[in-house]
């Protein structure tokens, strides 16, 4: 589905991504881990069009999508969420969802003046869809609340909900777990699994919580110093000496997580 070929992204002389090559298979939930500064977020940003690459290619379903701007990638079914939730804070949860679908005729300013009735029809459909999504996420009681007033975890759910307003092919998640309470994280994990199974979304997610990764992801890709260090199932990764040395360590947390 997504193939990254020998991708480079340099900042001045610094090689944040340095020859990364990897594949994300259709229907998978691929985990992306690696030490701080390994270049994971940078890789995401390049794939999602937020940063232009220095060299290399990104292929999606056989089509070269290297360097396309984010809004075009969106229309190709490539979506992302952010490490820090990026809600539209002055808008209600419902509006947050309703604004998502592309190609709304009401988004053209001409139609705003001359095509009011068509817009009204479309809006009614969108409204129903948004309410369904809010139901799915178990936050329908918040539909008229301003998104800015939600709690951190709820914002992350809303963020996930936006990807459900359109038929996303692949969703990139950047550290959904960071700073999220583990219990809530489990709920989010469930939602991700359901989307993957029921709707056939492909996911690629950066995460540092090995337990969470272990529950959801197969395969797991480990990055270090800008390139791919290892790839495999969670158990293979945990057993990999290089990965232990560069990333997992042998300390207390790892022991705890394994136990």
């Amino acid at each position: 589905m997504i193939e990254v070929r020998d991708l480079h992204r340099h900042f001045g002389g610094f090689r944040a991504v340095d020859g990364a090559s990897l594949r994300i298979e259709t229907g998978s939930i691929t985990g992306l881990v690696g030490p701080n500064g390994a270049g994971k977020t940078t890789l995401f940003n390049v794939i999602a069009g937020a940063l232009p690459p220095t060299s290399g290619q990104v292929i999606m379903d056989g089509e070269d999508i290297t360097g396309l701007p984010p809004h075009e990638l969106f229309h190709k079914g490539l979506l992302r969420t952010f490490q820090i939730a990026h809600e539209f804070s002055s808008m209600t949860c419902r509006e947050n969802l309703m604004m998502v679908p592309g190609g709304q005729s009401g988004e053209s300013i001409w139609n705003a003046w001359i095509g009011r009735s068509r817009i009204a029809r479309e809006e009614a459909e969108l409204l129903k869809k948004a309410d369904d999504v809010l139901d799915f996420l178990t936050i329908s009681h918040l539909k008229d609340e301003r998104a800015g007033n939600l709690s951190g975890g709820q914002k992350k759910l809303l963020e996930l909900g936006r990807t459900m307003m359109v038929d996303a092919k692949i969703v990139f998640l950047d550290e959904v777990g960071a700073g999220v309470n583990r219990t809530l994280l489990n709920t989010i994990g469930d939602a991700i699994l359901r989307l993957n199974r029921e709707r056939g979304y492909t996911f690629c997610m950066i995460e540092h919580d090995m337990e969470f990764i272990g529950r959801l992801c197969d395969p797991v890709i480990v990055m270090a110093e800008g390139h791919v260090l290892a790839e495999g199932t969670i158990d293979e990764i945990k057993a990999n000496e290089q990965v232990i040395e560069a990333y997992l360590g042998t300390g207390l947390k790892n022991k705890e997580a394994v136990s």
């Binding site: 500064g37 951190g152 309470n181 219990t183 540092h208 300390g251």
Partner: protein
């Protein structure tokens, strides 16, 4: 749009006229009130804190105490008010009720700056280093309030975090996430605090660095410095904690030693993710 009409920038990003980098959230102009003696309290004792950010209350009678040399950990769901409680302890928001005492003195009326002088150190969750300054300058800024010679302390910190010694001339913004956290803790230690407060020091940090940080935190505590921290990696944190607090909706829900809480099935299920 936030509730604060003065913060309405209408989404403008025009960097040629406005510089949004490093804008603070804390009112630095408040005047300190007086310090009253409060004998017989634990080393740090924040009792019955009620307050918020000006809108409704976030904290509803939350109490936190730490003894000398102890590690205390606060856990709880998102939005429970953990960070808010930390800020309240540090004087970064107005309390409507409750008091904060440190080492037998009531410091409820002090500003954050004054609390630094009283021996408190705080490492916020994010943006906790001066990115444009070198590692050494960061540490110097930690020692800003000190009039004495702080070179010995700096050496101690370099011993504690050896990697920082190698990078002392490098801009802190160029360091990796884990290294930045070390700079941040180092900066706070430079003030020679008696109490070190850490807000989610391990969020977004790789497992190996997290282990490293926890090790260092234990080391710091062993030197007699009290530690109060908020953690979402709750199980690992409670593992090393002398005392644990579970905060729910701005009030204490469970309190106990770290081991006790870890062993409590209800706490595990509701707050630690099973």
């Amino acid at each position: 749009m936030s509730g604060n009409p003065y913060q309405d920038d209408r989404g403008n990003r025009d960097r040629s006229i406005a510089n949004p980098l490093g804008v603070g959230e804390v009112d630095g102009y408040r005047e300190s009130g007086e310090v009253k003696p409060a004998p017989g309290k634990p080393f740090l004792s924040a009792e019955g804190m009620v307050g918020g950010y000006g809108g409704g209350d976030i904290l509803h009678g939350c109490t936190i105490t730490v003894e000398r040399g102890e590690i205390a950990v606060i856990v709880g769901p998102n939005g429970a008010g953990k960070s808010t409680a930390m800020k309240a302890v540090f004087g970064m928001l107005d309390l409507r009720e409750g008091s904060v005492t440190l080492d037998g003195r009531d410091i409820t009326a002090l500003t954050p700056q004054a609390r630094v002088r009283e021996g408190m150190g705080f490492v916020p969750q994010t943006s906790n280093i001066f990115t444009s300054m070198t590692v050494e300058e960061n540490l110097e800024m930690g020692a800003f309030i000190r009039a004495d010679d702080f070179r010995a302390t700096m050496e101690q910190i370099y011993d504690l975090f050896p990697i920082l010694r190698d990078k002392r001339r490098q801009a802190a913004g160029e360091l990796s996430g884990g290294q930045r956290q070390q700079v941040a803790v180092g900066r706070a230690l430079m003030t020679q605090p008696q109490l070190l407060m850490l807000d989610e020091p391990t969020a977004g940090v790789s497992p190996i660095v997290m282990d490293e940080l926890f090790d260092r935190i234990i080391e710091v505590a062993r030197t007699g410095i009290s530690i109060l921290m908020v953690e979402q990696n709750a199980r690992q944190a409670l593992e090393i904690a002398d005392k644990g607090y579970v905060l729910v909706q701005g009030a204490n829900a469970h309190t106990g030693t770290g081991r006790d809480l870890l062993a409590d099935p209800e706490v595990r299920r509701a707050f630690l993710g099973g």
